[in-house]
């Protein structure tokens, strides 16, 4: 879990720029977007948009997939992946613990019934 802070720092660094933040929002609003699509609606050149998108992808905030000659981006905030990782590791831990609890109770019950057996006649 401690590995998370490094990722968060990178996210902050990538988002320390207002232009990049609005790009992330624009991508999130569309679901997916290319530099060309975004440049058509923003007051910047396609090259500038492409450069910022690549920086955001490097920071793990966007996922890039090739779509023909263009690169298509979607938002994949790194901490979301941390959340999924947490869910899986905690879920696995509880599966194991509850199985151990069941065994522990079983052993406990056995020793109890031996202790409580009247006179211990059969053993």
């Amino acid at each position: 879990m401690d590995g998370r802070s490094g990722g968060v720092d990178r996210v902050f660094a990538a988002l320390g720029d207002a232009g990049r933040r609005s790009l992330v929002e624009a991508v999130a609003t569309r679901g997916t977007a290319t530099a060309t699509e975004l440049a058509a609606e923003l007051p910047v050149t396609r090259q500038a948009v492409a450069k910022q998108l690549a920086a955001l992808a490097d920071a793990g905030l966007l996922r890039a997939t090739r779509a023909g000659r263009e690169t298509r981006y979607e938002v994949t905030p790194a901490p979301l992946e941390d959340a999924v990782e947490w869910m899986v590791s905690v879920g696995t831990a509880w599966d194991e613990r509850l199985a151990a609890l069941r065994r522990s109770l079983g052993r406990q019950g056995k020793s109890r019934s031996i202790r409580q057996a009247p006179g211990g006649s059969s053993s």
């Binding site: 902050f12 999130a28 007051p43 947490w86 069941r102 109770l105 019950g109």
Partner: protein
């Protein structure tokens, strides 16, 4: 503000009655049989617990709620928590566990904040120049 916590839930039914299961949840010796390798626990509201695992992991907790033999809630020192509830059923006891994560703040606040900053963004210049107050707002929102 939306909750950024996620929950993991598990449930089993064991043949023992709630009083027996309760001991396994609150007696450190019993907890060492299934929950962690080394357990210290002061099982009363406000009591503290230390749990150590074989891999060197150690977690500290405070008992937030305790209702014998029904419900115990621990707050972990990382901001997460776990609630274990016991319910008598025909063939024993239902053990219901809900572990809540610490907050995964930044990702979930991303959209809200960038909406705010884009609304405040000047139309043409300032593309490269981040208004310092916007960066500050982001940091504060993520730490809250």
């Amino acid at each position: 503000m939306p909750s950024e916590r996620i929950n993991v839930e598990r449930e089993i039914v064991v043949p023992e009655d709630p009083d027996e299961v309760w001991e396994s949840l609150t007696d450190p010796d019993r907890l060492e049989e299934w929950f962690a390798q080394e357990v210290e626990l002061d099982a009363r509201p406000g009591g503290e617990g230390v749990f150590r695992w074989g891999d060197g992991d150690e977690r500290r907790a405070v008992v937030r709620e305790l209702e014998e033999p029904e419900r115990i809630v621990l707050d972990w020192d990382d901001g997460g928590s776990v609630a274990i509830e016991l319910e008598p059923v025909v063939d024993g006891t239902r053990v219901h566990v809900v572990e809540s994560s610490p907050e995964f703040a930044p990702a979930f606040e991303l959209r809200t904040l960038s909406l705010e900053t884009s609304a405040a963004k000047p139309p043409t210049p300032g593309w490269e120049a981040a208004p310092p107050e916007a960066a500050l707002a982001w940091t504060v929102a993520a730490a809250a």
